[in-house]
Amino acid sequence: MIATTASPTTRPDPRGPAATPAARSAARPPTWICPECRTRHSLATALAQLYVCPSCGLHSRIGAWERVRQLADPGSFAKWDGELAAADRLQFVDTRRYTDRLAEAQERQQLPDAILTGAARIGGHAVGLAAFDFGFLGGSLSAAVGERLARAIEHCAGARQPFVCVTSSGGARMQEGVFSLLQMAKSVAALHTLAEAHVPFLSVLTDPTMGGSIASFAALGDVIIAEPRATIGFTGARVITQVTYEELPPGFQTSEFHHARGLIDHVVERPALRSTLIQLLRVLAPAGAATGETAA
């Protein structure tokens, strides 16, 4: 990585760009390079644009902390389940030890695992907010991610607060084998508590949302919103091509592709995402749930 370039999957952290080593040490203003069109922008511009490339419109992948910064009312986020981290039940070794991969990801992403959950306010509405971190082993579903997700959901059911989940996940975590697979069941079992409490679940799909994540909780939102041009699907395009030799249609597995087929309610650009959620929460936030005074 170029020393003066901040990647949104790792930096800036919620303390702001000035807290990052790159920002402190740089002789010239820090920059951000669009991973798609490779155009260089100032980091200040990238932050102001929510890491949507001003040149090509790419909604670049952002980390969980940055997602919270973009969606939650300032200062409203309080994280849950601080220490709950992944385990190596299979003592898994492929080309590297799973424990080494985990330790590296925890250090790099400043997260215990691939999801951040907590209490937040969005436009004054008290919600439970979950954000996946694709930079943490591809946002994959470990047992700890599943447990954090389930606890967040159940907390929302108990508190009668809407649950907002922003998914960015490649799907299952191979290194946790069948434990990872069963997180699909765990998350859906937990979601039933929301149904019983008549509490809404707003599912936001971002690039990418694949495999076990979209084939469980993420597809079961009462309302499903996706960011533009996110890759969403059960099987990845590369595997489909290898297994079936099929030609992929234009725009295959994009947000727009699924929206056209009735699988996603809205494709919403990142700058409008917060206001879209607020509009929905005005209708769906359960009566009697605490609301603050923060304006949109």
Binding site: L84, A85, A87, R89, L90, Q91, F92, V93, D94, T95, R97, T99, S142, A143, A144, G146, E147, A150, A172, R173, M174, Q175, E176, G177, V178, F179, S180, L181, L182, M184, A185, K186, V188, A189, A190, L191, H192, G211, G212, I214, A215, S216, F217, A219, L220, I232, G233, F234, T235, V239, I240, V243, T244, E246, L248, P249, F257, H258, R261, L263
Partner: protein, 287 residues
């Protein structure tokens, strides 16, 4: 306590890989009894039902009504093909969204008529194709998972061959899960796992070993309830004997579940409590 240590922390060696692969080969043996072979031998009065009532009938998933002993049951099963023609028609057992919607129909029907459900799992994976994606494969699987976790009647699942990924989970989430001795349940096929982990599908044997696919592990980990033995050499050597070993176990579990009044809330609790976390402290915090 389900904290087994299947093996020391080292990459699987060649012998472990070979042993793991032999297990997979038996589960995929071309003469292995498929779901309809076991349904015919374990159940009576089986009547297949066709279609998802939404425009499709996926032959990779079979649903129907039958009796297990004296007890009426609903049946849902993955079905591979025996002949070349049948394999094509049933898409090698790999279901499309219509198959999962057909399974949902069976779960709804069973709930309405108060029928217990028995499912037979034998699927390489949900079909990885363009048409499946276009028609909402992921959504169909998610909704089928939900349908199982709201089914109000007792439900027994048996993995009879391959239990491939989310496509298997869609008909697996029962009150009692049985696994035939040489069957397996996996997060991804060994070939896919090898492609992801080693960037080399040829290392499928090592992937199979690393994933700890032995059936008894599922019991140790609290994911399955029982391993059902197969005849010596594997189920392909004797279909009748395989069914004779399986039927009494299906009956025993279903009788137990009916007596216990198994319901959806208990089933959701079972899957909510799936383990896989770090240590005893974390687990007690979870309780």
């Amino acid at each position: 306590m389900t904290g087994g240590r299947p093996r020391p922390a080292a990459a699987p060696d060649a012998a472990a890989a070979k042993a793991a692969w032999d297990h997979i080969e038996v589960s995929r043996h071309p003469d292995r009894p498929y779901a309809l072979d076991l349904i015919e031998r374990c159940l009576s009065d089986f009547t297949e039902l066709h279609g998802d009532r939404q425009g499709g009938d996926d032959a990779a998933i079979v649903i129907g009504l039958a009796r297990l002993g004296d007890r009426p049951v609903g049946v849902v099963a993955n079905q591979k093909g025996r002949t070349l023609e049948e394999r094509g028609r049933r898409n090698f057992g790999m279901a499309h969204p219509e198959g999962y919607r057909k399974a949902q129909r069976l779960f709804r029907l069973a709930g309405r008529l108060r029928l217990p459900v028995i499912s037979f799992i034998d699927i390489p994976g949900a079909y990885p194709g363009v048409a499946a994606e276009e028609r909402g494969q992921a959504w169909a699987i998610a909704q089928t998972i939900e349908a199982q976790l709201t089914l109000p009647t007792p439900y027994v699942a048996v993995v009879i061959g391959e239990g491939g990924s989310g496509g298997a989970l869609a008909t697996l989430l029962a009150d009692a899960v049985l696994v035939l001795e040489h069957a397996f349940l996996t997060v991804a096929s060994p070939e896919t796992a090898a492609a992801i982990l080693f960037r080399d599908a040829g290392r499928k044997q090592h992937a199979a070993a690393a994933l700890c696919l032995e059936a008894e592990n599922l019991v140790r980990w609290g994911i399955a309830d029982e391993v059902v033995p197969e005849p010596p050499g594997g189920a392909h050597t004797d279909w009748d004997a395989t069914a004779e070993l399986l039927r009494p176990r299906l009956e025993a579990h279903l009788t137990r579940l009916v007596a216990a009044g198994a319901d959806a809330a208990a089933r959701r609790e079972r899957y909510r409590r799936i383990d896989g976390l770090a240590d005893a402290a974390t687990r007690s915090a979870q309780a």
